[in-house]
Structure formats: C-alpha cells, structure tokens
C-alpha cells in the first residue's frame, strides 16, 4: 500500500508540475504582450475565462473524442495546462499594470528602452503578483489532477476513485489525504517565495 501511495503521489506531482510549468511558459509571455497591446486584453482574457468556466469533467469529455488526445496522460496534461493558464495570465497582466506609474515614468525618464523597463523594473516588481497566480494555478491543479484519474492520467485520484468504487475507506483516504496535504504544501511553499519577493514601497 505504501509503495502504491508513493507512486501515485509522484505521478500526481509530475502532472501538476509539468502542466503548471507549461502554462507559465505560455501565460507569462502572452501576459507581457497584453500589457503592450491593451486592446487585446478583453479578447484573450475572455477566452481564457471561458476555458476556466468549463467544468473539468466536461473538458476531459470534450477532449477525449478528438484525434491526438483520447484516454491517457497526454489529455490530462493538456486539460490541466488549460486550467492553469488563466490565473497566471491574469496576474501577469495585473502585476505589470499595477507598477506605480511614477516608478515607470522615472524609468522612462532615465532613458530606459521598453525592453529595459520590462526586465529591470516591471518584471521584478510584478514577480510576487505573478507567483501568486502560479500558486493559485498549482493549488487548483492538485485538485483537478485528482479528477483526471478516470481518464487514465494516474495520480492520487486512482486511489480515491477505486476506493469509492469498492467502498474501501482506507483506500479512499490513502488517496484523499496525500492530495490534500500536497495542495497545502504547494500553497505554503510558493506563498513563502512570493512573500520574499514582495517589495515594500
């Protein structure tokens, strides 16, 4: 049983880490672009919002019949990545837009180019806000990855669902407790980094 829990936990962590990493790699550059093209913000954030609103089981259901997807880890990863995009994207836009206009003007007034402004001022000052988005995405991801078990993604959800099906509470809890702990741990860890990168005014 312990070996099974360990293996399921490892699968779970990989699912969440890979999907959040993919979402970050996608959402941060797009978020930066949106701060340069504010006219696109409504459309892009709107689309991300629609994706976020689709119930997770329904999204799995929609993806499985498509070619390339089907049952398995790949479909779960794509769905988890889609769900992780919105919080990171939104916080990237909000974090950069929230930089004090006086600070931005001082930077431009010193002769920074747009790229220097981004790299030296806007991104460092927005990092804690962007990380808060990553934290939200990770906590949501831990929960959603549990639900991804029925489509063959593996992870702690396998124990939860098989425990449910066989009315085996021990098995159920062997999946549920580590999943809950994982979410709390991710929240605390990323939250800790986030606080250290928050700059006082």
């Amino acid at each position: 049983m312990m070996a099974e829990i360990a293996q399921a936990t490892a699968q779970h962590v990989v699912l969440v880490v890979v999907s959040v990493a993919l979402a970050t790699a996608l959402a941060v550059p797009v978020g930066i672009l949106l701060t340069r093209r504010p006219a696109w913000q409504r459309l892009v954030l709107g689309v991300a919002n629609v994706v976020q609103t689709i119930p997770s089981l329904a999204l799995f259901g929609l993806l499985i019949p498509l070619p390339f997807f089907g049952i398995g880890t790949r479909t779960a990863l794509v769905a988890l990545t889609l769900y992780a995009i919105l919080p990171i994207l939104r916080n990237t836009v909000v974090g950069i837009a929230g930089v004090d206009p006086a600070i931005r003007e001082a930077a431009v007034g010193m002769g920074m180019t747009s790229a220097q402004l981004l790299r030296r001022v806007e991104l460092p000052l927005a990092t804690s806000v962007i990380l808060a988005g990553v934290r939200t995405a990770t906590v949501i991801g831990v929960g959603l990855a549990t639900i991804a078990a029925p489509i063959g993604a593996g992870g702690l959800g396998v124990l939860v669902f098989s425990g449910l099906a066989s009315l085996d509470n021990r098995r159920l809890l062997a999946g549920a407790i580590p999943a809950a702990l994982l979410a709390l741990l991710a929240d605390a860890l990323i939250g800790g980094v986030e606080r250290r990168l928050r700059w006082p005014r």
Partner: protein, 243 residues
C-alpha cells in the same frame, strides 16, 4: 547661450484640453531656473516636454539647439537627469543599484560605474559603506531624496530636471536640502530646471524664476528681484510662501 528653449509651445491633455499655450522661455547654459505657479498651471507638463516624456502640440522645445522631436528620445533622456518627488526610486534596488543605473544604461564599464557611485554618494552625504546596500524603504524621506539627486547626476548629464523634489519633506530637511542642492548645482555647473509651488524655495535654489499661470510664462525675473517686485502675479505667491 540658451541650453533649453521653449518657442510658443502648446501642449494638450489626452482629452484635448489645452495645458500649455504660447509657452516661451529660455534657460541659459549652467543656469538654474525655477518654474513656479499654482497646481494645474502646466509647470510639470513643461518639464516633461524637455526630456520628451511628452511632445508639444504646437511650437518647439529645443535642447542644446535641437528640437526634442528631432532627438532620439532615449539619448536625450540619458543626457538629462530627472528627479521626481520621492516615489522615483526603484524599491527593488539598493541605493547603489539605483545610483548605478544611469551610468550602466549609458554603457560605462563596471569599474567606472563603481567609482562614480562612490563619489556621488559621498557628494550627497550618504557614504557608500553605511548606506550603499540599503533599500529605499530603509531610508528617511530626506535620505531618499538625496539618493534621487545622486542618481540623477550619476551619469554626469549637462541638464537636470527636478519636479518638486523636496515637496514631501519636513521643513528643516527641506531647507537643508535646498541649500545643498544649490551648492551642488553651482559647483557642477549643471543647467537645472526646477518645478515648485513655493516661491521661497524658488528664490533659494534658482538664478531666475519663471511664473507660470494658465499654461504660459507670465513673467520671468532674477531670483534677487523677486523680493522687491510688486507685480500682482507675485503677490499671492509671496503671501502663500510667507515672503
């Protein structure tokens, strides 16, 4: 010789309202000029026209003989120190990193940047060993403003723009910093354009004072002549400043 010139300059807000109209002024090389006037008179806008943070809607602003519209804005700004009220320091950079920024952007080599930071911090009375590694939130308002001045002068620009640099300070610190800034400006022979709404401050830091009202310069006179002048436009400013 004029270093900064405004020729019948107009400027509009994003909504199209006139902020400056027929604004003309000449600032000589090495001179400190104060722009004084009530809030909303357009003094800050005039300042931002000089380093091309804004461009004129009419007329022209010349810096070193060239219109700001013909300057590469990045080059113009790197040759122009800019000090704004308190908030201008970067909160995520130490004192040294803030001061080093201008020279680094200008492409100085590391050793020279280093020596320059040392020199500038010494100059504004915040020796590097004691203050260099602090963050802006660990300094008092007066110390922050000193760092702001050191940062603006670090890349050795011939021109410095100051927008109410001492506005947020207590009267004692303010008085001391005005004196220090004036001594520094005269010693380094920088051309300085200084926005303030305090006439006493204007006469203390500047060679000449330009009174701005409703988007134009109504009068420009020597700092020493202000006290004796009984121009109506100066009367309210004098009363407000206790002169």
């Amino acid at each position: 010789m004029s270093f900064v010139g405004f020729d019948e300059v107009g400027a509009r807000s994003p909504s199209g309202a006139a902020i400056l109209e027929g604004f003309s002024l000449e600032v000589r090389e090495g001179e400190a000029m104060a722009l004084i006037g009530p809030s909303g008179s357009g003094k800050t806008t005039a300042l931002k026209l000089v380093n091309a943070l804004r461009l004129p809607s009419a007329g022209a602003v010349r810096v070193a003989g060239r219109a700001t519209t013909e300057w590469d804005p990045i080059a113009l700004r790197r040759g122009t120190g800019y000090v704004i009220q308190e908030v201008g320091l970067f909160p995520h950079m130490t004192v040294v990193e803030n001061v080093a920024l201008g020279p680094t952007l200008a492409g100085w080599e590391d050793a020279r940047v280093d020596a320059r930071c040392e020199e500038m911090l010494e100059l504004v009375g915040l020796p590097r060993p004691a203050y260099g590694l602090r963050y802006p939130h660990e300094l008092s308002g007066g110390q922050r403003q000193r760092v702001g001045v050191a940062r603006a002068l670090a890349a050795d620009p011939p021109l410095v723009l100051l927008d109410e640099p001492f506005g947020a300070l207590d009267p004692v610190t303010r008085w001391a910093l005005q004196g220090e800034f004036r001594a520094l400006q005269q010693r380094l022979r920088k051309t300085a354009l200084f926005v303030t709404h305090d006439l006493r401050e204007a006469t203390r830091v500047a060679d000449r004072v330009a009174v701005v009202d409703r988007g134009r310069v109504v009068v420009c006179l020597g700092a020493a002549e202000v006290a004796a002048s009984d121009l109506p436009v100066l009367r309210a400013l004098k009363e407000a400043s206790g002169l």
